[in-house]
Symmetry: C2
Subunit: 204 residues, 2 copies
């Protein structure tokens, strides 16, 4: 019934190029990476790269888009499996904590460089869409918690605001993790604090 989707040679090649570009952006940030760096890292010809991607901007946008899709898939599967809300939330916060601890090995620095400098409508829309998707994902999780009786019933509008609130906190924690050396305890406390706001509870 459910056969694995065939992955074409060209999709495989794109995935390979994206992975190499990802590693370069993590290492050097957005600005310092050139198309020549990517050619060299991929060990392909210039034409071989340009057939798929013509600029570092295009590559970066594609990485941002694919990152969003991966997040979405993970959440959906757990809810379908009936995993308790509290466990999904805990797993999500642990993942966020791990990401904050290893922020230097993520795309975050490059993403801030990219989005602070690229003020074109297309990029603002990309970021807004990503933000909107993440918000819908989290408010979906809150509604799932309400349905399971694990979260106090709150109005739909509040579920959306609570989800946005967590996203705003995560954004703040990321920029602080990158720019200031705050200790692990700080991030743990703040993630817990944000989780309480998410679930409609009072402070821990």
């Amino acid at each position: 019934m459910c056969e694995p989707k065939g992955i074409s040679k060209s999709e495989e090649k794109k995935a390979y190029i994206l992975q190499q570009a990802y590693e370069l952006f993590v290492e050097k940030g957005f600005y310092a990476v050139t198309m020549s760096d990517i050619v060299e890292r991929c060990e392909i010809s210039r034409g071989g790269l340009y057939r798929y991607y013509t600029s570092t901007e295009q590559l970066f946008r594609e990485l941002i888009r694919r990152g969003g899709e991966a997040d979405q898939a993970d959440f959906g599967v757990k809810m379908e499996q009936g995993v308790p809300f509290a466990d999904i939330l805990e797993g999500f916060l642990e993942m966020q904590h791990d990401e904050l601890k290893q922020i230097g090995s993520s795309l975050t620095q490059a993403a801030y460089e990219f989005f602070l400098a690229h003020r074109e409508a297309e990029d603002r829309k990309l970021l807004r869409d990503r933000h909107g998707d993440a918000g819908q994902l989290l408010s979906g999780l809150i509604r799932y918690g309400i349905e399971r009786g694990e979260v106090a019933a709150i109005a739909e509008k509040q579920a959306a605001a609570a989800a946005e609130h967590l996203l705003v906190c995560l954004e703040g924690l990321r920029i602080l993790a990158l720019a200031a050396d705050l200790d692990e305890h700080f991030f743990k406390t703040q993630l817990e604090f944000a989780a309480y706001a998410l679930t409609g509870g009072t402070q821990p």
Copy 2:
């Protein structure tokens, strides 16, 4: 008894240079501003500038430090005057909302550029200190609210975490205001949400 402090000619000159540099950083961000731009804007000689400041980094750090002192003074005066906690908080949030709406005319973009690129211990310490000062200021305000009976009594540790939480949210809202075009309503809702967390209340 309380004579106004004399402001020396050299302090006056420094304040003038800082104001001009501030305007340039707001207009162009951190990277695009050179010492020559500042000489030109101030209409002084190169020697006249270098007598006080030898790099754009030094100027920027000084602006960040002075910005923090100005915040502190404002809060303290209101608490001494016995202004109700709710009014101080509302004023603070309105100011934050105004700053978010006009984020393009603030030092914020330049500050992110500066702190994301300057990873030296000195700059991380400067940002950590600024963050710590702001946290103490806000937890002082929460304690003031508790003393006046306007805020439910919470443990000292929680006051600090609640203050940090608001700072983290503000940081997140700033980066989103700069990088994505989110509407005014979004910022208003999120500031209200954050305020409830600050005062130990549940969601609005």
